[in-house]
Symmetry: none
DNA sequence: TATGAATGAGGGTTCATTCAT
DNA sequence: CATGAATGAACCCTCATTCAT
């Protein structure tokens, strides 16, 4: 990589970092292009060499940050030695929630305008070279656990939407309950969702 | 009510109706005050006699429309003759989802920036005289059904967040599944949530 | 005076008092008609029954307040027993300056946009019944003192402009000197002005 | 200086010139930013690149124009060959008054909202490179004349306030006397002020 | 006389985007 | 590639004034 390329990559990263800090601290609507280029210490025109507009840079950041968030949780669950599928999902859920609770700016940033569609694209279309396709990771997790799931995508969808939206309210407003109070309810419900999607080989006498 | 008061009420309703149509058709960000007063056929200054800004009128509309939505569902469940608590909740859920599916503009409008906090306020602080306090309705439903619930507020919170966020994605993007495909999954999960909050009068060997 | 007339007079006084308080505390530009009628507790339209606009009410207030200011000083000098013309003028000057120093809002109010023309009109066209024509008072003072003045109007003009403009700067900003430091300089200069306008009855070997 | 810099300076000068013409012809209150940019033939946003608001540009103009006014008078007095301090001050006074009489727009402009504080800043904080610090000029004048003054700043203050405020009324309204009628009175009084500030080396038998 | 809802022109200001250098 | 001065449309909001009641 030549000196010019390095400089180019550097400017782009400056812009991404500056945007992220501004978006998470003061929101995207209140952040102007001027703010971003000031913080990144590049000229205004330079912004438009790399990004179409504010929303372009936001989408790339959501993808990158979401991917990071889930991969950290995934790496952590692997290090934990937990093997049961249900337990692994709960571990990941708690890990992600704790991470978001510790970084409300990030939560607010990736939650706004966040639909399942955007989210899935974020997780399955890695933009950076370092980002991974979380869909593959998820499928691996299922395969490794040796269980059989009915409609695993719907299951993931429901879990993410439930955890995401209740977690948002708990973390941001402690309303109607704090995150710590919410967790037991969530865990029970998520386990219920997983079980209802699990195709049991043996006789099913629960629920 | 004098002629002046009637005129006053009329202008306010014009503004509310115009805003609602514009917000649901083109979004709040792309709607300007000028658009609203043009459609309502009042002067710009008149807007500021009744509302602080765009977001003031939006909050009032969310409150009003949400209240309406739930009351319609509640009235329908009463007419249906269904008495079982669980069945009544499922009925309401389906009714609301169908209503939103038929009116995507409304869905998009009340979903944006909608946190549980805002939502609860909308349902429990009726602004119009016609609006009702949904909290009372909910408590009545529980009382009438003769069941005993642990943490009914958390239960409602989880159901609304789950149904709301998954429903939004299904209705708006059919992603990952259409609304019709989603419903059975939702019903099963919601019943699970309700049961896990139900205090059994007989020997309690669960949990 | 009938009940209606009394009420009318009351409303007008409320408006004048409210305006004065607002003008002196926050300036005329930042004071809106709405502010005035709110404070006076009358309807907006009522304002226009009594005054043409904000500037109309201001001019009337300047006249009234200036007249008051000078008459208080005049009454004080009469009570003081001072008889010498020069000393009487100095006394009045100090009295007015002290009054203004104690009431900077008033100073700021009557000084802004205050030209000699406005001021003279204020002093010589009493609008309220209680206000007096200061010109007459001034002429009386001269006549009573038994001295003969060349161009008494120019003399008064120069004194008022000098004292007014230097006093304003001293009182408001203590710049370049405080009022107390300014006074001796002013006194000496004013005495000089008076003397140079005094027609000596004996042989005139000055100038 | 590059082409861009030249263009930049040109735009700024256009804005200053346009503002000055508008302020002096129709007053600052009736002049809108839109008027200014129309006359200067630049875009509205350009105004905000150079100035904070209307009052920012006014203050810079007052400083510049006042400095110009006094320097012209100072240059003229130097060319006149007059050496006596008193005579030089009188010459400057008359020169400035004549200039203002010939340019009432300028008078009205620099007189409004003009306090000694603003004025002194204008004269002692040259903003343009061409502007000079009048305070230095004044001190030089005193030093060169070989006289000794008590409180020269207060003396200047009194002269400027007296001449400024009486001159304003005379020039603008010929009230109570025209400028030509005023001048002899002013000259006598100003000479009196200077003398009362002059520390005489010889026996002091006056006043 | 008194009211105050309604008006709407006009204000100042922002900021995404362009393009000559 | 990089710059940043210039653009100008579009925004929100104020407020003096009117007039039907």
């Amino acid at each position: 990589m030549g000196k010019a390329d390095l400089n180019k990559k550097l400017k782009m990263e400056n812009l991404l970092n500056a945007s992220f800090e501004l978006f998470t601290s003061q929101g995207i609507n209140k952040t102007t292009i001027q703010d971003i280029v000031n913080k990144a210490e590049v000229a205004k025109g330079t912004f438009y060499l790399y990004f179409k507009d504010k929303y372009d840079i936001r989408n790339r950041l959501i993808a990158h940050k979401s991917s990071q968030l889930f991969m950290q949780a995934y790496n952590a669950v692997n290090e934990s030695g937990i093997t049961e599928f249900e337990d692994r999902i709960i571990f990941i859920m708690n890990h992600v929630l704790d991470e978001l609770a510790a970084n409300k700016g990030l939560l607010s940033f990736i939650y706004k305008d966040l639909s399942w569609a955007v989210f899935k694209r974020a997780l399955t279309n890695p933009l950076n070279d370092d980002d991974v396709d979380f869909n593959e990771v998820y499928e691996n997790m299922i395969a490794e656990s040796g269980i059989s799931l009915k409609d695993p995508e719907v299951m993931l969808f429901m879990i993410i939407e439930l955890v995401g939206s209740t977690g948002y309210s708990s973390i941001m407003f402690s309303d109607p309950v704090s995150l710590d109070e919410l967790k037991p309810y969530l865990e029970r419900t998520v386990r219920g969702i997983i079980r209802s999607h699990t195709e049991k080989p043996k006789k099913d006498n629960e629920e």
